[in-house]
């Protein structure tokens, strides 16, 4: 299908493209910029272009790619750094230089790498759609090759194969390769959805202990600027106990991505001891890269994440930040002159968001394995006002809320998780899981919460009467709550302390609570507060 550009307004163009379908990928202009058909009126297609359109002229050709916007899936994605359209940034740099150019295209995986294809099938076997044909290994991850069609096998290629080697031939003439394409806006198939039950250990004491997240669950992290969303997300990306991490830098800072790339190159995965980069896929669409590609970047990322989930792995998707994605949606919607909803966001913000977030979960895959896809999504509410549409839409679908508080951040209390307003709907699931392994988990957690709660109310009193005016027992509580805040809730992501195992977490808080009980006992037996506090201070950590 071919047509010509009729009008251009920003990154939205119109072209006469007879026979196009909504969602089709198209190549726009002589520079072959990637675009997506978003609207059709008879033969006139409205196309959203994902690249810089400067220099595009009316009358230039538009060609349909014949299918929807899709990503390529196969071995070799791990360790990759892609833009919002899954183009490999390292390759783009070697082809086009340090600055991005429009119209560049490249295959996301290395076509020359050889994998050993192992199979138990034999020529003459009859297989159904979705049956396993064999597998290859990418590092320690086993990629099954599933049959896209049913039929009788005529020929099999065993041994070393590249991505383009035809592995299995069918009598009907089809051949199967190591990679396939999958439309980004269509969830990958699964047998059943299951109920999440296993906690995802983030290594952050405050989160794991007070507001746990389950594998297959969704956490949202709203916070004003400077509250440490990015540092928290990157820290979790490094230490979370999952098999694969997909990190989406969606409309955020380029320097932060550079820092992430540097660090991931140096660090090693705690579980496997291999470089962290080998379990990570990065999708980088910084704030100055084209807006429409920012919108597609989270779908590109979640499709790759689902691909690894389908191998029975635990996958974590981190997005920073969903607000930038929503703003991209708003810009596109406004360019299409759609009727705006709240704050100018399109009215389909909530449903589009749900389409994305509901792709998280624990599933039984088509091959019968169990895989999970967990999401941690940062939100940047304007003016740190959580009443705005993006935060509110997220709250409707997320199970865990980690609110980052500006006042805590100003006091350099990091992670600046507000323990009075954050919540987790998975608390009891996680607690029962942890309680089996670490004695006292549930009880200590309730004590800790209670202490922090009482400190909050006492603080209001102290603001009026002063610390001197408080009773000794209350002053002791204030002192101990402060120690819990500083020694337990605070965690420095730039030191050894960046990861705390559940065992270390529960031990640390148990010690603090025990100390509080001992001090209370001493106070009751007649010691003065000063003596008790001095002793508590001397008890070193």
């Amino acid at each position: 299908m071919k047509g010509r550009i009729v009008s251009i307004s920003g990154a939205t163009i119109r072209a006469d493209l007879a026979g196009a379908k909504v969602g089709d990928r198209v190549y726009v202009g002589t520079a072959r910029l990637t675009g997506e058909v978003v609207r059709l009126e008879r033969d006139m297609a409205t196309i959203q272009v994902f690249e810089e359109v400067r220099g595009l002229g009316v009358g230039e050709p538009v060609v349909s790619a014949g299918g929807p916007l899709a990503v390529s899936l196969g071995p070799g994605l791990l360790g990759g750094i892609f833009d919002g359209l899954q183009r490999p940034l390292t390759v783009l740099r070697s082809q086009g230089g340090d600055f991005m150019q429009s119209g560049q295209d490249s295959f996301p995986m290395d076509r020359t790498t050889e994998y050993r294809f192992e199979t138990e099938c034999r020529p003459g076997d009859e297989v159904q759609t979705g049956d396993p044909l064999g597998w290859v290994m990418e590092g320690h991850i086993r990629h099954p090759v599933l049959s896209p069609v049913g039929g009788r096998i005529s020929k099999i290629h065993a041994g070393l194969a590249t991505l383009e080697t035809p592995l299995v031939h069918f009598k009907a003439g089809d051949a199967v390769k190591l990679w396939h394409a999958w439309p980004v806006r269509q969830p990958r198939p699964r047998k059943t959805r299951q109920v999440p039950g296993v906690p995802l250990v983030t290594g952050q004491r405050c989160l794991d202990f007070l507001f746990p997240l389950l594998k297959g669950g969704v956490a949202i992290v709203p916070g004003g600027f400077g509250t440490g969303k990015t540092v928290l997300e990157q820290s979790i990306a490094k230490f979370a106990d999952v098999d694969v991490v997909v990190y989406v830098g969606c409309g955020e800072r380029g320097n932060e991505m550079a820092g992430l790339l540097d660090e991931f190159g140096d660090l090693r995965d705690q579980k496997s001891g291999r470089p962290l980069a080998e379990r990570t896929i990065i999708v980088a669409n910084t704030s100055n890269m084209p807006v429409a590609a920012r919108e597609s970047s989270i779908f590109t990322a979640v499709t790759m994440a689902e691909y690894y989930r389908d191998m029975g792995l635990d996958v974590l998707l981190l997005a920073d930040s969903l607000s930038r994605w929503a703003e991209a949606l708003r810009e596109i919607s406004s360019a299409l002159e759609e009727m705006p909803g709240e704050d100018g966001y399109p009215t389909y913000l909530g449903s589009r968001l749900a389409n994305f977030i509901e792709r998280a979960g624990v599933v039984e895959t088509t091959t019968g394995a169990q895989g999970s896809l967990t999401m941690i999504l940062a939100v940047s509410p304007p003016g740190a006002d959580f009443a705005e549409p993006v935060t509110q839409s997220c709250l409707r679908v997320a199970g865990t809320l980690w609110i980052l508080d500006t006042r805590l951040a100003h006091r350099r209390h990091f992670p600046a998780v507000d323990w009075t307003q954050s919540y987790s709907l998975y608390s009891e699931h996680a607690a029962s899981h942890f309680a089996d392994r670490h004695t006292g988990w549930g009880g200590v957690r309730d004590r800790c919460r209670d202490l922090l709660q009482r400190e909050e109310s006492l603080r209001e009193v102290a603001e009026v009467v002063g610390m001197e005016g408080l009773q000794e027992r209350d002053r002791l509580l204030m002192e101990m709550a402060e120690r819990i805040r500083l020694d337990f809730l605070c965690q420095n992501s730039f030191t050894e302390d960046a990861f705390s195992s559940p065992q270390a977490t529960v031990e640390r808080i148990t010690r603090l609570i025990e100390e509080y009980d001992r001090a209370l006992g001493q106070l009751d037996t007649g010691a003065t507060l000063e003596e008790v506090l001095r002793e508590a201070k001397d008890a070193t950590f």
Binding site: V6, S7, I8, S9, G10, V53, R54, G55, L56, G57, V58, I81, L89, T90, R93, D98, F99, M100, Q101, G224, F225, G226, G249, G251, R253, G254, N255, E256, M257, A258, G259, L261, D262, A284, T286, S287, N288, M289, V291, E327, E331, S334, P340, D343, G344, S380, P382, G383, A384, H410, R411, R412, E463, V464, V465, G466, M467, E468, G469, F494
Partner: protein
């Protein structure tokens, strides 16, 4: 490519800074146009929208005096480019790259599109070498590093101009080396300009300035930062210099953006600012950075006046989400006579972690900062308590911290017009901590 430029006399409408042209052939989006008024006045414009033969053009200049019959519009078949070369150094231009210093235009060695191209994220080198501004609150507590973008949030009536002035003349590399300041002034009053002119005069050829005055065309406010950044990228990434771009006052830039967006009948967002303001500001600020394998750098220091002293106003809010930290000025400190009146607690430099400490500044830098910060934060908390219960109702230890907070403001934050080296800054902080027994 067209073989020749196209000239048209088919203007159908003029609306604010916008010009509508009919019956054009193969116009390109972003294409540069030259507009010649009936009296022969020439100005530039840019194609914003093409619909068949109809073209919408944004005029960079005053549209007064244009008409529909005789105005000539020439499509140039190229995008807007900036002239570049060593000749820019030591010069002052306006928002259209016309010399403002009564000297002839320099001879360009090369040209580059002013919109720039996004840097490939994998080509970026993480910023980690400090720039010494001579201001203790920045160098010591919120270190600025090469390739960073760090805004100054000011309020109306605060001495932002004096601070900008100091940064212009005092900033340098701690180890010396080729260092250039690109000064972009947007919507500057004549009164302020007289001060800056004096400072610039004393800087020889270590600067390039783009000055858009308050009564210059509004559209040029959108151009000036882009011209400045294109020059900065050329000096930084091509010539290998370390470039600091100071942009004042970006609130005027955002207001100009709103004005143009309204003229284009775009859907207004929060407080009337366009929905694409985040992306627009990012397209400027993200041009800061360093590139693997190249020696220069571009660092951006925008000055933003917060309307109504409100940090949640869309301008400072969106800026804060793009930049890597912020330096916040405080009215309270200014009234106490402290200069620069930097409010230490909400100020932050996200990239300082890698720019300080052993091998960068001094081994004790990080430790000193943490101690100063903690003590001062506690002092500020206690001040609130003091206001309620009075000094006598407080513990001895707390009274000491209160005194520390006062001394910290008077000795460390306050420095008048004196420049402090990073060593001077750290020594000052260390002395202060030692005086109050807070070092061990």
């Amino acid at each position: 490519m067209r073989l020749s430029e196209h000239a048209y006399q088919t203007v159908s409408a003029l609306r604010g800074p916008l010009l509508f042209l009919e019956q054009t052939f193969a116009a390109r989006i972003g294409e540069l146009v030259t507009i010649i008024s009936p009296e022969g006045r020439r100005m530039d414009g840019e194609v914003l929208k093409v619909d068949g033969g109809q073209v919408l053009i944004q005029v960079y200049g005053e549209t007064q005096g244009l008409d529909c019959e005789r105005t000539l519009v020439v499509l140039q078949d190229t995008v807007k480019q900036a002239p570049l070369g060593d000749g820019v150094l030591g010069r002052v231009f306006d928002g259209s790259f016309v010399p403002r210093d009564q000297l002839p235009m320099f001879i360009p060695e090369r040209w580059a599109p002013i919109s720039g191209a996004p840097m490939n994220p994998v080509a970026r080198e993480h910023p980690e070498e400090m720039i010494e501004t001579g201001i203790s609150c920045i160098d010591g507590l919120n270190t600025l590093v090469k390739g960073q973008k760090l805004p100054i949030f000011s309020c109306a009536g605060l001495p932002a101009r004096e601070l900008t002035d100091q940064l212009l003349s005092q900033a340098r590399l701690p180890g010396g080396g080729p260092f250039v300041v690109v000064f972009v002034a947007v919507g500057l009053t004549h009164f302020e300009y007289t001060y800056y002119r004096e400072t610039l005069a004393g800087m020889e050829d270590r600067f390039v300035a783009f000055v858009n005055l308050a009564d210059d065309p509004v559209v040029e406010r959108l151009l000036a930062p882009r011209l400045g950044l294109t020059v900065a990228e050329d000096l930084g990434f091509r010539c290998g210099m370390d470039v600091l771009v100071i942009m004042a006052d970006m609130t005027n830039y955002c207001d100009a953006l709103r004005e143009i967006a309204t003229a284009r009948e775009e859907l207004p967002g929060r407080r009337g600012y366009p929905g694409h303001m985040y992306s627009d500001l990012a397209s400027l600020y993200e041009r800061a950075g360093r590139v693997h394998g190249r020696s220069g750098s571009v660092t951006i220091l925008p000055v933003v006046t917060m309307p109504e002293d409100d940090i949640t106003h869309p301008i400072p809010d969106l800026t804060g989400y793009i930049t890597e930290g912020q330096i916040v000025l405080s009215r309270e400190l200014h009234q106490k006579g402290i200069f620069p009146p930097v409010d230490v607690l909400p100020s932050l430099s996200r990239l300082m972690q890698n720019g300080i400490g052993p091998g960068q500044t001094r081994d004790d830098h990080r430790d000193l900062v943490n101690r100063l910060y903690r003590a001062y934060a506690k002092g500020c908390d206690l001040r609130r308590l003091e206001a309620v219960v009075g000094r006598d109702g407080m513990l001895e230890e707390d009274r000491k911290i209160l005194d520390f907070a006062d001394r910290f403001e008077a000795d460390f934050v306050h420095q008048g017009d004196q420049r402090r080296s990073i060593d001077g800054t750290l020594d000052c902080g260390k002395q202060l901590l030692a005086d109050f027994g807070l070092l061990s």
